[in-house]
């Protein structure tokens, strides 16, 4: 069995690359379909968030799975990129390291903002999508189910999730507070109506924002947000007007291209009379051209620009990490043990079948030679043979279990195969 993770995250790749490799939900579904066609023997789950694009794959030892280069070509091919440009930016982990990484990700220990709750639902969504597109298999199923369980365990047994924090919360709490003294008299424009937009709006309302305008291509989703948070909906074609009036803009759409280019912004700029504008571009790919941040009075923050805030948040919460990390280590070890033990299953079964076959044949031969035996004697002899077989099998099976705790017992299994002529 082989477990593999290939991808990029905020720790390894800049936002410029991550936004080029990002998948919308629809794109992720298409990518999984394409994966199944290209690598039919490999299970896969695709996790694409604003901080990471990661493909978790698994296949049986006998099967052939995609290597680093093939995954890079797959990702690049889907987005119409040159695979050479991304090859070196993708990291790879396999086996135990891949499992540990997924557990860390699901528990939000690998997030920009330590303990942010969004990632768990994103992992769930990624797994569900893989199920819908039938790219998930027994290994990835086990892996993701364990990851979700570990995340919940960390949430309940540690204090890491006690403070409600997220990218949106640090963006509002730290960056927006540096610019604005109060929010109740500010015009807030939220572009997009997804989870990130909701999260940002929730924090803005906690800070006192009252004048909120939501602009989204899908008006129904915007209406649902307005129903939950209040504010007003503006049609998509009034976005420019809304931007002119805004003091604070949250960009959180799923658009694959920037909504505001520099040229589009410059056309509106003079109407703002240099009023300060804070743009929190929380979308990946970004909604605002980075060059807009150079304009007078504009303060543009994208996800990666929040790094120092997130780092400070992480430093403040460093004390809460060891307990969570120790749970991750314990769970990873248990998962790998169970995985390795499961890998020995077919050999153990074959071994049992072989010995039970021998037992049955010997019993048949014995009962054939001793036809006068009564039912009670036959029963006793059968049980004695069973006990004998079990006692003979016990030491090797125990040894296999012990070896499984250290890793996959390849050598032992191979020896058993050869000693007892166990065929695949």
């Amino acid at each position: 069995m082989k477990l593999q993770l290939i991808g990029c995250s905020h720790n390894s790749a800049a936002l410029e690359l991550r936004e080029r490799l990002a998948f919308s939900t629809v794109q992720a579904g298409q990518a999984l379909e394409r994966w199944r066609e290209k690598f039919p023997s490999a299970e896969a789950v695709l996790l694409s968030t604003c901080n990471r694009v990661e493909i978790y794959s698994a296949w049986d030892t006998d099967a052939v799975g995609p290597d680093h280069r093939q995954v890079a070509e797959f990702l690049a091919g889907f987005h119409g990129l040159n695979s050479c440009a991304i090859l070196d930016n993708l990291f790879e982990q396999s086996g135990e390291a891949a499992v540990r990484h997924l557990f860390m990700v699901a528990a939000s220990l690998d997030s920009m903002v330590l303990g942010e709750p969004q990632i768990l639902s994103q992992v769930k969504q990624a797994y569900r999508l893989a199920q819908e597109h039938q790219s998930v298999g027994p290994l990835t199923h086990e892996m993701f189910q364990s990851a979700l369980r570990v995340a919940k365990r960390i949430a309940s047994e540690t204090t890491i999730h006690q403070k409600r924090v997220s990218i949106a919360s640090v963006a509002v709490g730290d960056c927006a507070r540096d610019v604005f003294e109060r929010f109740d008299d500010k015009q807030v424009l939220v572009i997009g109506a997804g989870q990130m937009a909701e999260e940002a709006l929730r924090y803005l309302q906690d800070e006192g924002a009252q004048h909120v305008t939501i602009v989204n291509r899908n008006v129904d989703r915007a209406a649902a947000m307005v129903e939950q948070f209040g504010g007003r909906i503006a049609p998509w074609d009034e976005l420019d007007e809304a931007l002119v009036a805004a003091d604070l803009v949250v960009g959180a759409t799923g658009a694959s291209e920037p909504i505001f280019s520099l040229e589009r912004f410059q056309r509106l700029e003079s109407r703002r009379f240099q009023r300060p504008l804070l743009i929190l571009d929380l979308a990946v790919p970004r909604d605002f051209d980075a060059a807009i941040g150079n304009r007078l009075g504009v303060y543009l923050y994208s996800i990666d620009d929040l790094e120092w805030v997130c780092l400070r948040n992480r430093q403040e919460r460093d004390g809460e990490l060891p307990a969570a990390v120790s749970i991750i280590e314990e769970e990873t070890r248990q998962f790998m043990e169970s995985l390795h033990h499961r890998a020995t299953g077919p050999i153990v079964q074959r071994l049992r079948r072989t010995w039970q076959g021998l037992r049955d044949r010997e019993l048949d031969r014995l009962f054939h030679k001793l036809p006068n035996l009564g039912d009670i004697e036959r029963e006793e002899i059968t049980r004695a043979f069973e006990r004998y077989v079990n006692k003979m099998l016990h030491p090797p099976l125990e040894r296999i279990r012990d070896e499984s705790r250290q890793g996959h017992p390849h050598g032992l299994l191979e020896a058993l195969k050869r000693l007892f002529h166990l065929k695949d």
Binding site: C175, D178, F273, Q274, L296, Y299, Y301, D305, V309
Partner: protein
Amino acid sequence: MSGITTVCFAASYAVALALELTRLMFRSSVRGVLLIGFAAAGFFAQTVYLIYRAHAAEMIPLSSAHEWYLLAAWMLVATYLYLSVFQFAVASGLFILPLTLALIAASRFASDRPIARSPAVQAWGAIHGVFWLLGAVAVMIGFVAGMMYLWQSYRIKHKVAPPRGLKLPSLERLERVNSRAIVVSALMAGVGFLSGLILNIVSHQTKQTEVPWTDPIVWHSGGLFGWLLAAALFSGLYLPARRGHKVAYLTVASFAFLAVFFALQLSGSTEHGGQGSPEIPTRSVSEDLWSPASLTLRVGIVGWKEFHT
């Protein structure tokens, strides 16, 4: 009350500034108390010093250029203490205390010869001095807010993490302080300038010491008032000028004008405020210590002295 000199309260403020600087290096739970304690002790000593001087000279505290500088510093420290108590997280001392120390240092070079003698001249002199004082303090507060704004804006624009312990107010608040400082300083400087003109005319009529109309300080104070008025009108009539960097630059430029004003006054190239006169007493710490003022002050501040020793 022995030994209250400008050096005493300057030393208190210097210690408070040093403590402010340690914000950048480490966290401390007792720093706040020490910081406010030193600043408050200095403020108390300075208050007593100014009251005594006013009482001893039987005049208002603004009777000499020396006191004018000390009163300006006193007002800045009052502002600083207010901010320290109500917004301790904001590192305002890093910006305000250096200005305070500079004003105290300037006071040592300024004349302490009483400016006005007759009641009429004294009244107009008081108006002139008080309004210029308020105008100058407004300019200095605007300057502090402007510098804070420019640093905060640069930091946010370039995504620079704030140094540990250096928390500044929001851009919105700094912008508001800047805008108000410009308007207030223009109004105060206007009254101060006009009352100065009247004072000079009254001094001429009562045959008392007057400042020649060709004195550089007269022209420069006129220029400063003109600049402040222009800045206030500019920011009032032209909307973008009220915002962001523009208003911060206006306050910084106003301070530059004020600094030249101080330099002219202290350089001795003017007869304004008793400067340039051969009778200017040369001040020293030892003289301060043994002056009648100090001897009287020593009586009541024994505890304060023990605190400092």
